[in-house]
């Protein structure tokens, strides 16, 4: 039983042949197909990664755009507010000016009216005085009266001027 003979060589040849056959028909194809699948999977993974990356890029872009749009809208609102303020101020100023002008005009008018009234009154008073004077003169045309008047006038004037003349 414990004997080596030519079978050894035959066995070795058998093994080599079996090895070649196995390699060709079993291990070769199986490993090839597994590697192929691995490749496919890796490719798909990388594809997915690419797509993901692209999506992220797009998202970033959109975010940037959104931010920009936000800024623009803010700017527009600010601008509008400023303009509105400006307009408001201008309108206020205008209104103020107008009011001042109106007041001034009113004052002028009032002053004019007053002047006119004063003048009217003066002329009326003068007329009244004249009328009174005329009445006095017309009614009391007598000498005595004139004299009395005159004397009275003199007396009054003389009293007030005495201190100066004497």
């Amino acid at each position: 039983m414990l004997r080596l003979d030519w079978n050894l060589v035959l066995e070795i040849i058998n093994m080599i042949v079996l090895y070649l056959l196995m390699k060709k028909f079993l291990i070769g194809p199986v490993t090839a197909i597994m590697e192929k699948r691995q490749e496919t999977i890796e490719q798909q993974l990388s594809n997915a990664e690419d797509a993901n990356k692209q999506a992220l890029d797009l998202k970033e872009q959109y975010e940037i755009k959104l931010e920009k749009a936000d800024e623009t809208s803010k700017e527009i609102v600010n601008k509008g507010k400023q303009e509105a303020k400006k307009l408001e101020e201008q309108m206020l100023e205008d209104a103020k000016k107008q009011a001042e002008r109106i007041i001034k005009e009113a004052e002028e008018t009032v002053a004019l009216e007053r002047k006119k009234a004063v003048r009217d009154m003066e002329s009326e008073i003068a007329g009244l005085a004249m009328a009174a004077a005329a009445k006095i003169l017309g009614e009391n045309g007598k000498e005595s009266d004139n004299r009395d008047f005159y004397e009275q006038f003199l007396a009054k004037a003389g009293e007030s001027n005495d201190t100066n003349s004497n």
């Binding site: 080596l4 050894l8 066995e11 028909f25």
Partner: protein
């Protein structure tokens, strides 16, 4: 041999990249598992030897299990195990020689200290001898014990013993044989 080849051809015939059938799944799991097992042991440099190791594993496994079908296991013959172990040692030394070149290969016998060089050289003969004898002894022993049990009690009783001696022991021996071979290859590659 012919049976194995025909079976492989039948199994491999319609493999696809997208797995469709259970057959392919089983085949891939088996081959891929064994492949990975060897790859972990021998490493990146020893990939060339993996097909050989798988072949030997399948061969010894089938040879040991064939006893179940009533055949005499071929590994019971010393010539077969001797042939296997001689091829193993040739491949082991070839791996070291191919990797290191002549000078380094010769030098590698004097490591880690030159004084154990004789032992290292002896290893060339001891390793295949131990591989050969272990496989041969185990299979022969199992065969003899099984025959004795069958002679003694031909009914029912041999079943559990058959499970142990034919299936478990046979597979373990196949595993040990290729495991040691791959370990030695890795050692030679370092």
């Amino acid at each position: 041999m012919a049976v194995l080849t025909v079976l492989s051809i039948v199994f491999v015939r319609n493999l696809q990249v997208e797995p469709t059938g259970k057959k392919q799944l089983v085949l891939e799991t088996a081959i891929g598992g064994i492949h990975q097992f060897f790859e972990e042991i021998v490493g990146e440099n020893g990939k060339v030897f993996i097909p050989y190791l798988i072949t030997v594993a399948i061969y010894i496994g089938v040879a040991n299990l064939i006893g179940l079908l009533g055949f005499k296991p071929p590994t019971k013959d010393l010539n077969v195990t001797a042939a296997l172990s001689i091829m193993s040692i040739i491949i082991i030394e070839y791996a070291g020689f191919h990797k290191k070149g002549l000078k380094k290969w010769v030098k590698s016998f004097a490591e880690p200290v030159p004084i154990i060089a004789p032992i290292n050289i002896l290893e060339i003969f001891i390793r295949p001898l131990s591989l050969c004898m272990r496989l041969f002894g185990n299979v022969l022993g199992a065969f003899v014990v099984m025959e004795l049990i069958k002679k003694l009690v031909p009914l029912i009783v041999p079943i559990p013993f058959s499970c142990y001696f034919d299936i478990f022991d046979g597979l373990i021996q196949a595993y040990v044989f290729v495991f040691l071979t791959s370990l030695f290859i890795k050692e030679a590659l370092e």
